[in-house]
């Protein structure tokens, strides 16, 4: 590359050539195309930015084979037919249809190329018209232009794949072996994504790994915490490792929008939706299911958004997410999705429908899996204007046998809540009152693990109370309900056991008039945070359900999210960038003591790294809990050491700051005194400005308020 000429040289050359530089308008100078005269353009690196964008520039072209071979005279007719077929699917570019002609025979060659505006349209056209029967002898064979090259490369003879030498992988669960038993979390703020240790003892987070532009939309931990998934334009990726975060696998899925792991983190579901350029066309969605470890696509689903929009609540535009709900616990054996009048249950051995057919349920609205067992709960609303009652049924998979069914009358809506061990299922039923003008709410409680699955009906004391939130105690037998009117609702706690009878629901207590609209149970049970988010500005009440007492009340102003760490020791409350101010997060102890507070502008996400379930048996856990004193001694000593060290450091730091400040003060005092005379001069000899001039004097002021004289007469005569 030629060295760029300096300004001096340019001036010298200009004067030699008799050019007045000031009259040259640099913007009008055009270099010949492709010539940069050795000057590297500033925006060159822009082009290098994303080579993947340019990969497959022919993605919008398809090749249609098996067309009739026609002579010149019939060429236009054939072209018209093809154009008619293919312009229904998408917009064919101008001159985008090209049918080559054999120069010797002047006949067509039996194939043509069609160029669409977008690769999505091309993909759709390929899908729709592959195997299209034009007539008996001409069945279209449609391929993407990009694939042709790939097909050409297929060797004629099969060669056995090379066996790669085995390289031991990293211990992906190293973080669990942390000596201080700390938990990790990931935060996203601005363009940075950071993984940190929650070092509650030192009252600060300790960085693990940080990366800018790690993800293009969000990050997500896998359910057992092994992987951190990032989402990019080209697809999703998972990261993990013993000490740092390396990319373990990539899952190609252009324009992926949402991802979802199976509970045992064996599979990853990715979702993308493609808005059609032509509003008449269908809005298409693509779902891929990958094997997390190998990165292989196990199954893909394509279709219009409407097909995936049935049932469930929440999610994103067009679909209810997750589309596929995983069942059967951590084994990832089944997944299911709801369709119109069907529930399709797939199993992961073959990735096909169980018994090759979906379960037909007329008008099914919603379904959910038991978190541990292969049991489906589904809800069908009332039909025929109330002639056919609504029902909730439990279905065993893979036998598809109905375990239990409950008919419900005058139902407006149903919501299902599973307890985390799959022991209980609560169905919140909104019913119409007799006038059909308003609704009231009751609960149907299923005891799944008991014989015949008994059902109990629970109604609130005040039937008209609105239910604001409901939550099961994880692994426990209790649940909490927020009910009542919005400004100060009540919170009730119930247990599935009562003292005398283990088979009856009993109320534990009702807390009146709480500023709360969300419930967050500790993952270990026993403790719960009654939170007032949104309208209540982040009121937090830390409540102990065993003792039925409030441990602490606090506020994290404007808090939008609350998350317990997986051990139930700490809680993170965060203000995400839905608010402009106060962005950041607080870490609290389980009993409501604020440990530390970090402010971050443009704060998007806070996620604790989940932990896999422990290997200890419940009996063993109980034993440890019983002998906690024995174990805790060691940790308490450590805690004390750390806190001593901390206060020592704090003192040091303060001392240093004070000393430094003293130095400044003395310096200033000296300078001030030095300049005293000069300042007086500036003031025309007026004495100084300082307050020292004043003297504090105590002045006693006596005020004579009133003087009056009075003559008193004494009578001596009486003596």
């Amino acid at each position: 590359m030629a060295e760029a000429a300096s300004m001096e040289e340019i001036r010298a050359t200009a004067s030699r050539l008799g050019i007045d530089l000031s009259e040259v308008d640099l913007d009008t100078i055009r270099l010949p195309p492709g010539e940069d005269l050795g000057i590297k353009s500033d925006d060159e690196d822009l082009n290098e930015d994303d080579p993947l964008e340019f990969d497959g520039g022919f993605g919008n072209i398809i090749v249609v084979d098996n067309l009739p071979v026609v002579p010149k005279e019939k060429f236009e007719k054939l072209e018209g037919v093809i154009r008619k077929i293919y312009s229904q699917i998408g917009v064919i570019k101008e001159d985008g249809l090209w049918m080559p002609i054999d120069p010797s025979s002047h006949k067509t060659l039996g194939y043509c190329f069609i160029e669409y505006n977008t690769p999505q349209e091309a993909e759709l056209a390929r899908e729709k018209t592959h195997n299209y029967k034009l007539d008996r002898f001409h069945i279209f064979a449609v391929n993407m232009f990009d694939d042709i090259e790939k097909f050409l490369k297929v060797p004629d003879e099969w060669a056995p794949p090379e066996t790669k030498p085995y390289t031991p992988g990293e211990n992906l669960q190293k973080w669990l072996t942390d000596e201080k038993a700390r938990d990790q979390f990931v935060i996203r703020s601005g363009s940075d994504t950071e993984v940190l240790w929650n070092d509650a003892r030192h009252l600060k987070p300790e960085p693990v790994y940080k990366r800018s532009f790690w993800t293009e939309s969000f990050v997500q931990w896998s359910p057992l915490g092994t992987y951190l998934a990032t989402v990019h334009r080209q697809g999703a990726a998972v990261w993990g490792g013993a000490t740092t975060f390396n990319r373990l696998m990539r899952y190609a899925h252009p324009q992926v929008k949402l991802i979802d792991f199976s509970p045992g983190e064996n599979f990853l579901v990715t979702y993308s939706s493609h808005e059609p350029s032509n509003p008449r066309d269908t809005h298409r969605v693509v779902l891929n299911i990958f094997d997390v470890r190998t990165g292989k696509v196990m199954r893909d689903f394509k279709g219009s958004a409407d097909e995936f929009a049935v049932g469930g609540t929440g999610g994103v535009t067009g679909v209810s997410w997750p589309v596929f709900r995983w069942g059967g616990g951590k084994d990832d054996k089944y997944f299911a999705r709801i369709g119109k009048n069907v529930i399709s249950v797939y199993e992961t051995e073959t990735f096909t429908l169980i018994d090759k057919k979906s379960i037909k349920v007329e008008n099914v609205m919603d379904f959910s899996w038991s978190p541990t067992d292969p049991i489906l709960a589904l809800f069908v609303p009332e039909l025929g204007g109330g002639n056919q009652p609504a029902r909730v049924s439990l279905i065993q998979i893979p036998s598809k046998e109905e375990l239990r069914q409950k008919n419900l009358f005058s139902v407006s809506d149903c919501k299902m809540y599973w307890q985390s061990n799959g022991d209980y299922l609560a169905v919140k039923v909104d019913r119409y009152t007799k006038t059909k003008k308003s609704t009231y709410t009751g609960f149907e409680l299923f005891r799944i693990k008991e014989r015949d699955i008994p059902i109990e009906v629970l109604e609130l004391e005040n039937k008209n109370d609105k239910i604001i939130a409901f939550a099961w105690e994880p692994k426990g037998h209790r649940f909490a309900v927020i009910h009542g009117d919005s400004p100060r609702p009540d919170i009730s706690f119930y247990s599935m056991r009562s003292t005398s009878n283990t088979g009856r629901v009993s109320k534990l207590t009702t807390l009146k008039g709480k500023q709360a609209n969300a419930l967050y149970w500790s993952p270990a049970g026993r403790f719960i945070i009654l939170a007032g988010l949104k309208g209540f500005n982040g009121q937090l009440e830390f409540f102990n359900v065993d003792e039925l007492e409030t441990m602490a009340t606090a506020e994290h102003f404007m808090a939008t999210d609350i998350e317990w760490d997986p051990t139930g020791r700490y809680v993170a409350t965060s203000v995400t960038s839905v608010h402009e101010m106060e962005n950041g997060f607080n870490i609290w102890s389980f009993h409501g003591k604020l440990l530390y507070r970090i402010l971050k502008d443009h704060f998007f996400q806070f996620l604790w790294r989940p932990r896999p379930p422990p290997f200890l048996s419940p009996e063993k856990e109980e034993e440890i809990a019983k002998n906690l004193k024995k174990y805790s001694k060691k940790y308490e000593a450590e805690d004390q050491d750390v806190s001593l060290l901390l206060s020592e450091q704090d003192r040091e730091k303060r001392k240093m700051l004070k000393e430094e400040w003293e130095r400044w003060i003395n310096e200033w005092k000296r300078l001030h005194e030095e300049e005293d005379l000069e300042r007086q001069k500036l003031r025309d000899g007026e004495a100084s400005d300082e307050e020292e001039e004043y003297e504090a004097k105590e002045v006693e002021v006596e005020e004579l308020l009133d003087v009056s004289e009075e003559v008193l007469s004494f009578d001596f005569g009486q003596e």
Binding site: W661, W668, R679, L682, R683, A696, V699
Partner: protein, 347 residues
């Protein structure tokens, strides 16, 4: 203690200033009349009528020049009506008007009150400028000529004050840079470092009582303490709201930051989200020690905070006052007097 609510302005407050003795409080607002109040009880003493635009800033001469001005102090105000005016504090009479071609923003008297610095905004293609004016002993001899005009920095200059012995002028504004100029020659002497300095518009700047250091507040949600001679960054106070006004206690090692989100965004959020309280920080340790809530209603955004060590001839030096306006559209000034406890805060 209950703050005193001073209702005298019809538009948002822009600036507050105590006189040296701390017995008078001058307030400027976007309505056109600067007002003087008794600092003790919040009674309105009078207004200064004559401006035809928002008044952005004011300064009052020290009492020690009083002799030359027939025993009364002088007030200088800078206004958006493209003028700065000199007033007789006592009578409210206009003494002189400095006319400019663009709105005047910051004003500051030099030690001795013989010079004043006035900044003007960038306006209709004119760049912002710092003007130094000579202040005559006798107002009748006052002229509008500038002793010195400094041009250069981009964007509005929000504050300009005199350095020690009137040798320098310190300016800060929209470009987030603090600059020290030679007040004789107009030469740029020092500039704050882009790395360590503020990242966004500097909204306020206040000097310590002995002019040895100064505090700047910025929309980057921080306030910074600088050495006035070397422009060394000494402290940074981080808060969660844009800082609109700063003040330093002359008695204790405390600084006060006032601020809040922009007035235009206020009504879109909860009333507490705006962060309109004044926050107290330990000057040395840079830790937050407390706050004073001051707002009522969601439409207030601008705080002006001043602290002063007061003096009373009978009781001697008395405690300082802090006052800060919480006037958005309502234009109230809130005057806070400290409880005795404040002077015994231990941290």
């Amino acid at each position: 203690m209950r703050p005193i609510l001073m209702k005298g302005h019809e538009r948002p407050l822009t600036f507050l200033k105590y006189n040296r003795d701390g017995d008078l409080l001058f307030s400027c607002a976007k309505d056109h009349t600067p007002t003087v109040w008794f600092a003790d009880n919040g009674e309105r003493l009078g207004t200064y009528r004559g401006h035809n635009g928002a008044v952005w800033c004011c300064d009052v001469s020290s009492k020690f020049c009083a002799g030359c001005l027939r025993d009364s102090m002088m007030l200088i105000t800078g206004s958006a009506d493209q003028s700065a005016k000199l007033w007789n504090v006592q009578t409210g009479a206009q003494l002189f008007t400095f006319n400019f071609d663009s709105p005047a923003r910051a004003v500051d008297f030099a030690v001795g009150d013989k010079l004043a610095v006035i900044t003007t905004d960038p306006f209709m293609g004119l760049p912002s400028a710092i003007h130094v004016k000579h202040i005559a002993r006798d107002p009748s001899e006052q002229t509008g000529e500038s002793v010195l005009t400094i041009k250069g920095p981009q964007g509005r200059i929000n504050r300009a004050v005199w350095g020690p012995l009137n040798k320098t002028i310190i300016s800060a504004g929209e470009d987030a840079v603090v600059r020290i100029w030679d007040s004789e020659t107009g030469k740029l002497l020092k500039e704050s470092d882009k790395e360590t300095g503020h990242k966004k518009t500097i909204t306020s700047l206040t000097k310590s009582a002995d002019s040895s250091h100064f505090l700047t507040g910025s929309l980057d949600k921080s306030a910074k303490l600088w050495d006035i001679r070397s422009l060394t960054l000494i402290k940074t106070y981080v808060t969660e709201r844009p800082v609109n006004a700063v003040a330093m206690s002359p008695l204790l090692d405390h600084v006060v930051l006032g601020g809040g989100q922009d007035a235009s965004a206020v009504t879109t959020t909860d009333h507490r989200a705006g962060k309109f309280e004044a926050k107290f920080f330990d000057k040395v340790l840079q830790e937050e020690i407390g706050g004073v809530k001051g707002h009522f209603g969601p439409i207030n955004a601008w705080h002006s905070i001043q602290m002063v060590k007061g003096f009373d001839k009978l009781v001697g030096p008395y405690i300082m006052d802090i006052s800060f306006s919480s006037g958005g559209e309502d234009g109230y000034v809130r005057l806070h007097h400290f409880d005795p406890d404040y002077f015994h805060i231990k941290i």
